[in-house]
C-alpha cells in the first residue's frame, strides 16, 4: 500500500487531480450545510451578476442561487457517475469473464454482441432510452450503464484470455475447484488493476453523459444537475453569462480530476508500463 502511494505520488497531475476530486466530494457532502434549503427556491432577485447581493456566483432567471445549484448538483453528478459505472462494471465484467474464460462459441457470441453495442451511436441510444422510459434518475443511470459496458467487457475478456492458461489457474483446476470459484478467487483478483483504471475513466465519461442528457432536458425533473443549469442558461446567455459558465467549470474540473486520477492509478498499478512511458516521454 505504501509502495502504491509512493508510485502514485510520482505523477504530479494525479496528485492535483485527487485533491480536486476530494474537494468536489467535500462540496457534495456539505451542500445541505453550505446551502440549506432547496436549490430550487428563490434566493435573491433574478439575473444578479456574481458577487452582488451576497450571491457568490450570481442568480438565474428565477432568482435561484447558481452556487447552491452547483453544490447540490455535485451530489447528483457523483452519484450518477458512481452508480452507473458500478452497473456497467457488473455487466461488463460478467460478460467479459464468460467470453474470456469459456472461449469458443460463448466468446464469439459475446464479442459480436459487444461489437454491436460499440457500433451503434451510443449517445443517440442513451437519449432514446431515457426518453422512452421517461426521465428520472433511474432511467438516466440505466441508459448510461447500457452504453458504457462494452469497453469493460473487452478489457476483462483480454485479461481472462491471457490468465486462464497460467499455471496457478491450471493448478486450481487440477485441485478440482469449481469454475465459479476459480473465476472469482483466482482469475478476477489478478485482472483487477486494468478494471480499476478503466472505472475511474468511466465515472468521468458517465458524468459527461449525464450532464449532456440533462442539458437536453432529459434529467430527473426533481433534481438539480449541472447539465440542467447550463441548459437553462443557454437561452439567456446574452443576459447572464454566469449561469452557464460556472456549472461548466464544475463539470470540467470534476471530469479532468477523474481523468488525472485514472492516469495516476495506471502508473501506480502498472509500474513497468509507467517506467516505459516516462522513458519514452
Amino acid at each position: 500500500m505504501k509502495d502504491f502511494w509512493r508510485r502514485y505520488r510520482r505523477n504530479k497531475g494525479a496528485v492535483v487531480g485527487l485533491a480536486v476530486l476530494l474537494l468536489v466530494m467535500l462540496m457534495a457532502a456539505t451542500a445541505p450545510l453550505l446551502f440549506p434549503g432547496s436549490p430550487w427556491d428563490m434566493a435573491s432577485a433574478p439575473f444578479m451578476p456574481p458577487g452582488e447581493m451576497g450571491m457568490l456566483l450570481g442568480t438565474d432567471s428565477l432568482g435561484r442561487d447558481v452556487a447552491a445549484g452547483i453544490a447540490h448538483g455535485a451530489r447528483i453528478s457523483l452519484l450518477v457517475g458512481a452508480v452507473s459505472t458500478a452497473a456497467a462494471l457488473l455487466v461488463g465484467v460478467s460478460l467479459g469473464a464468460v467470453a474470456g474464460y469459456l472461449g469458443g462459441f460463448a466468446d464469439d457470441a459475446v464479442m459480436r454482441f459487444t461489437e454491436f453495442f460499440q457500433t451503434i451511436p451510443s449517445f443517440v441510444l442513451a437519449i432514446l432510452l431515457v426518453a422512452i422510459f421517461t426521465p428520472s434518475i433511474g432511467s438516466v443511470v440505466f441508459a448510461i450503464a447500457v452504453v458504457s459496458w462494452p469497453p469493460v467487457a473487452r478489457v476483462v475478456r483480454a485479461e481472462f484470455l491471457s490468465l486462464r492458461g497460467r499455471e496457478f489457474v491450471q493448478a486450481a483446476e487440477v485441485l478440482g475447484k469449481s469454475r465459479i470459484s476459480i473465476v472469482l478467487t483466482d482469475i478476477l483478483p489478478n485482472a483487477l488493476s486494468p478494471i480499476v483504471v478503466l472505472s475511474s475513466l468511466m465515472v468521468a465519461t458517465a458524468i459527461l453523459l449525464e450532464s449532456a442528457l440533462s442539458f437536453l432536458g432529459l434529467g430527473d425533473p426533481n433534481l438539480m444537475t449541472w447539465g440542467f443549469l447550463i441548459g437553462s442558461g443557454r437561452s439567456v446567455i446574452r443576459l447572464a453569462w454566469w449561469m452557464s459558465v460556472f456549472p461548466g467549470i464544475a463539470i470540467f474540473l470534476t471530469v479532468l480530476s477523474l481523468n488525472l486520477v485514472g492516469e495516476g492509478l495506471s502508473d501506480a498499478l502498472n509500474p513497468r508500463l509507467a517506467r516505459q512511458r516516462s522513458g519514452a516521454a
Binding site: 454491436f116 460499440q118 457500433t119 451503434i120 451511436p121 451510443s122 449517445f123 443517440v124 441510444l125 437519449i127 432514446l128 432510452l129 426518453a131 422512452i132 422510459f133 468521468a204 459527461l208 450532464s211 449532456a212 442539458f215 437536453l216 432536458g217 432529459l218 447539465g227 447550463i230 442558461g233 443557454r234 446567455i237 446574452r238 453569462w241 452557464s244 459558465v245 461548466g248 463539470i251 470540467f252 471530469v255 479532468l256 481523468n259 488525472l260 519514452a280 516521454a281
Partner: protein
C-alpha cells in the same frame, strides 16, 4: 485475382453490415415494446396529441393485434422499405423529415471531422517529434483539457466570446435570415455560420487524434525499419513523413471508424446549441415534443450511417495497408 479478392472482401463486409442494420431494426422494435404501456400510445406520446385515427394507424403499422413475431416481421418489412413511420406532430413521413435534414448534418460532421483529423494528426506529430519539450507538454495539456470539457459547454463559450462579446460570427442557424444572397456570397455566409459549430464538434476529436497520433508515432519510431532507414542515411524529414507518419496513421483510420457514432451523437448537442438545421436539431425538437417515431428514425438513420462509414474505413484500411488480410 486482386479485384476478385477485393470484391469478396466487400461482399463479406456488406453481409456483416446488413446483419448489423437488421439488429438495429430489431433493437428499435424491442425499445418500443419495452416501454411501459401500450406501444401505440407510447409512440404517439403521452401529451394527448394523438387521436384515435393515429393510434389505429400505429396499431396497423406494428400489427399490434397479432403475435409478437408477426409484429416484428411487419415492422422489419416496413423499415427495410424505408418506411420509418409517420410523425403526427409534423404531419410528415419520418423518412422525409430525416432526409431533408441529412445534408446539413453531413456538412457539419464532415467539416468537424476534417478539422479534427488534420489538426489532430499535425499536433500529435509535432508533439511526438518534440517529446519532453514544453511544446509537447502544451499539446498534451490542451488535449487533456478538451477531453474533459462538455461539448455543449464549449459551444456555448464560443458563442459567448465570438458572437456575444466580439460580435465576429453568427451564433444561430445555417444562413442569414432574410438576406438575399447569390453565388459565392451564399457559400461565404454558410461558411461563417459553419465555423463555430464545426470547431466545437471538432475540438474534442482533435484532442483524441492528437493523443493517438503522438502515442503511435512514438511506438513506430522505435521500430527496426526506422532505424534501418536512418542507418542508410534517409533524410530525417523523409523518415518522419514516409516511414513513421504513414504507419502511425493506420490506428487513426481505425479509430475514425469507431468514433463515427460519437461524432453523430455529438452533433445532436452541437446542433442544439447552434440551432443548426440538421438531424441532431430534429432529434432535439422531437425530444421536446416526445415525438417518438422521429427519435426512432434518427436512431436508425445515424446507426446506418455509422455502419456505412465503417465499411468505408475497412476498405480504406485494406487499400492503404497491403498487409491487411482481406480475408478477415
Amino acid at each position: 485475382m486482386e479485384v476478385s479478392k477485393l470484391l469478396g472482401f466487400l461482399l463479406r463486409r456488406g453481409v456483416k453490415a446488413a446483419i448489423v442494420v437488421l439488429a438495429i431494426v430489431v433493437c428499435n422494435f424491442l425499445l418500443v415494446h419495452a416501454a411501459p404501456g401500450d406501444p401505440a400510445s407510447v409512440i404517439a406520446g403521452q401529451s394527448g396529441a394523438a387521436d384515435a385515427v393515429f393510434l389505429e394507424q400505429l396499431r396497423k403499422q406494428f400489427g399490434l393485434d397479432q403475435p409478437l413475431h408477426v409484429q416484428l416481421w411487419i415492422y422489419v418489412k416496413s423499415v427495410l422499405s424505408l418506411d420509418l413511420g409517420f410523425s403526427h406532430r409534423q404531419q410528415q413521413p419520418v423518412s422525409l423529415l430525416v432526409l431533408e435534414r441529412l445534408p446539413a448534418t453531413l456538412l457539419l460532421t464532415g467539416a468537424a471531422f476534417a478539422f479534427a483529423v488534420t489538426s489532430g494528426v499535425t499536433l500529435g506529430a509535432l508533439a511526438a517529434q518534440r517529446v519532453g519539450t514544453w511544446a509537447d507538454s502544451v499539446i498534451t495539456v490542451v488535449a487533456l483539457t478538451f477531453y474533459a470539457t462538455p461539448l455543449f459547454w464549449v459551444g456555448l463559450m464560443l458563442v459567448l466570446v465570438f458572437s456575444v462579446w466580439l460580435e465576429w460570427l453568427p451564433s444561430f442557424g445555417m444562413s442569414s435570415v432574410g438576406a438575399d444572397l447569390h453565388g459565392i456570397a451564399v457559400i461565404w455566409d454558410v461558411a461563417q455560420h459553419l465555423l463555430l459549430p464545426a470547431l466545437t464538434l471538432g475540438l474534442f476529436y482533435l484532442a483524441v487524434y492528437a493523443r493517438l497520433t503522438r502515442a503511435t508515432m512514438l511506438e513506430v519510431a522505435d521500430q527496426d525499419f526506422v532505424k534501418t532507414a536512418r542507418a542508410k542515411g534517409v533524410p530525417e524529414g523523409r523518415i518522419l513523413r514516409a516511414h513513421i507518419l504513414r504507419n502511425a496513421l493506420l490506428p487513426v483510420i481505425t479509430f475514425a471508424g469507431i468514433q463515427a457514432g460519437q461524432l453523430l451523437g455529438g452533433s445532436i448537442l452541437v446542433e442544439t446549441v447552434f440551432a443548426w438545421p440538421g438531424i441532431g436539431r430534429l432529434a432535439f425538437e422531437a425530444l421536446l415534443a416526445r415525438d417518438y417515431p422521429v427519435l426512432l428514425g434518427v436512431f436508425f438513420c445515424t446507426s446506418v450511417m455509422v455502419v456505412l462509414f465503417n465499411l468505408v474505413t475497412d476498405l480504406l484500411y485494406a487499400i492503404i495497408d497491403p498487409r491487411v488480410e482481406v480475408a478477415g
